[in-house]
C-alpha cells in the first residue's frame, strides 16, 4: 500500500539525519576547539530535529510503528536504511569535517529537489530543513578550504579522510528500489539526476582546497538495503541504550 511505502521512505530519510546527528552528538564537550564543539552540536540538533519530523510523519502513516521513539530507538540494525557514509566514525577532525562536507553537498541538493515533491508533508519538511542545511554546508565547506590550504599536516589529514570516505559517496546518489518507486509516484527526487552536479561541486571544492581526487574504485552501496559497516552496531548500542534498559521511559 502506498501509505506504508511513504512511511518507509520517510524513515529512510529520517535515518540519514538521525545517524549523522548521533555521530556529531558524540562530539559534545569533545570538539577540538570551543567554536567547533558548538557548531557540531548545533548541526546535530538540526539533524535530530529533522529526523523527528520524518519519523513523526512515518509513525502517523505506519501500521507497524506507534510513535517516533519506537522508530528511532527500537529497530534492529538491518531495519535502518541510512547510507553508510553517515555512520562512519568521527576519527580525527579531518574525518569528521570531510564526512560532513560530502553529506552536506548532497543534502542541500537533495532537499532542493524534495521541495518539489507532490507529498505535501515531505515538501514542508524539505522547505524547513533547507534553511538549516545551508548553514551546515557553509561551515563544512569553509573548513575544507581552510585545512586543505592550511599546513602540510592539515592538508594530509583532509587528503587521508577524502581517500577513506570517497567510496561511500556513490551511495548518496544511487536510488534504492524504494526510492525509485517513490520517484515514480512524484514523491521522491531521481537521485541519478543529482550525480553529475554532486561530483562537479565536490571536485571543484577539492581542487580549490588542493586535495587530490582518489581513483574511483569499489564502492560501498549497501546501507540503504540495511547492510551496514562494523561501526554501526556500536553506534546503535549507544543510541538505544536508554530505551532498551528502561523500556518506555520518557523525558
Amino acid at each position: 500500500m502506498l501509505k506504508q511505502k511513504i512511511s518507509a521512505y520517510s524513515i529512510l530519510l529520517g535515518d540519514q539525519s538521525l545517524i549523522l546527528g548521533q555521530r556529531l552528538g558524540e562530539l559534545c564537550g569533545h570538539g577540538p576547539i570551543l567554536e567547533v564543539d558548538i557548531a557540531m552540536t548545533n548541526i546535530a540538533l538540526d539533524l535530530l530535529g529533522q529526523a523527528r519530523l520524518y519519523y513523526q510523519l512515518a509513525a502517523e502513516l505506519s501500521d507497524t510503528y506507534e510513535d517516533e521513539d519506537q522508530i528511532a530507538f527500537l529497530r534492529r540494525e538491518k531495519d535502518y536504511n541510512n547510507c553508510v557514509l553517515v555512520e562512519m566514525p568521527n576519527g580525527d577532525f579531518g574525518d569528521t569535517i570531510v564526512r560532513q562536507y560530502l553529506f552536506d553537498v548532497y543534502h542541500l541538493m537533495f532537499l532542493n529537489q524534495l521541495k518539489e515533491s507532490n507529498e505535501k508533508r515531505l515538501k514542508a519538511i524539505a522547505e524547513k530543513s533547507i534553511k538549516e542545511v545551508r548553514y551546515h554546508l557553509n561551515f563544512s565547506g569553509d573548513w575544507i578550504l581552510r585545512l586543505g590550504k592550511g599546513t602540510e599536516v592539515s592538508n594530509q589529514k583532509i587528503q587521508k579522510a577524502v581517500d577513506t570516505l570517497w567510496p561511500y559517496t556513490k551511495e548518496l546518489v544511487q536510488s534504492s528500489e524504494l526510492e525509485t518507486e517513490m520517484h515514480g509516484f512524484g514523491i521522491a527526487p531521481n537521485l541519478a539526476d543529482l550525480e553529475d552536479e554532486y561530483y562537479r561541486q565536490v571536485k571543484s571544492k577539492f581542487a580549490e582546497a588542493e586535495i587530490k581526487l582518489p581513483e574511483d574504485k569499489w564502492s560501498q552501496i549497501q546501507g540503504k538495503k540495511g547492510l551496514h559497516s562494523e561501526h554501526f552496531g556500536y553506534l546503535l548500542s549507544d543510541l538505544q541504550y536508554l530505551q532498551r534498559s528502561y523500556p518506555n521511559s520518557k523525558w
Binding site: A39, L45, L53, K128
Partner: protein, 167 residues
C-alpha cells in the same frame, strides 16, 4: 466553563499570547518572534497554531508548555494547540520594533531580508555592534548559544555579542 469560554474573544487571546516571552530571549514575546501563526475560534473551541523556529530548537517544547499555562491561567481549557511547518518560519516576519528590542537587549538583530542577494549568496555581512554601533566587527563563531544566533566580536569596543541570524 462554556460561559467563560464564550466571553473570550480573539483579541484577548492575542493579548494573552503577547505576554508569553520567548524562553531564551525574554525581551521579546513569542508573537513578536513569529512563532504564533494563527488564532481562531472554531465551533466555540479555540485553536492556536504555532510554527517552530529551527526544527531541533529545544525551546519549542517549552513554548508549548508556556502557552498552555498562560491559557489555563485565564481559565481557558477548551483549546487545541497545533504545530505547522509551512510556510517555514523566517526572521523576515520580525517588525522593526522587535528588532530594536533585540538590539537594546544586546543582541544584534537580523541585518537584512532573506531575499536579499548577499544573503542568498551566503556572503559575509557587516553586522553593527549593538553596544557601540561600530561596523568594525568580526564573526567569531558561525554557531552560537542557541540555533538562531552566531557569535561576533566588536573590534572597537572589544565586546563579544550575539547576532540573530537572518533565516
Amino acid at each position: 466553563m462554556v460561559d467563560v469560554q464564550k466571553q473570550i474573544n480573539i483579541e484577548e487571546i492575542w493579548e494573552i499570547l503577547e505576554a508569553v516571552p520567548d524562553p531564551e530571549i525574554p525581551v521579546i514575546s513569542i508573537v513578536e518572534l513569529g512563532v504564533v501563526r494563527d488564532v481562531k475560534i472554531i465551533n466555540e473551541q479555540l485553536k492556536v497554531t504555532i510554527t517552530p523556529t529551527y526544527t531541533g530548537c529545544p525551546a519549542m517544547d517549552m513554548i508549548s508548555v508556556m502557552i498552555k499555562a498562560a491559557l489555563e491561567d485565564r481559565k481557558i481549557e477548551n483549546y487545541t494547540l497545533e504545530t505547522v511547518l509551512s510556510p517555514p518560519w523566517t526572521t523576515d516576519w520580525m517588525s522593526d520594533e522587535t528588532k530594536n528590542k533585540l538590539k537594546s537587549y544586546g543582541i544584534a538583530p537580523p541585518a537584512e531580508n532573506t531575499q536579499d542577494k548577499n544573503s542568498l549568496l551566503g556572503k559575509p555581512l557587516q553586522i553593527a555592534c549593538p553596544q557601540c554601533e561600530s561596523k568594525n566587527t568580526v564573526m567569531q563563531s558561525q554557531f552560537g548559544s542557541t540555533p538562531c544566533k552566531s557569535l561576533y566580536k566588536c573590534n572597537d569596543c572589544l565586546e563579544p555579542f550575539d547576532y540573530f541570524k537572518c533565516h
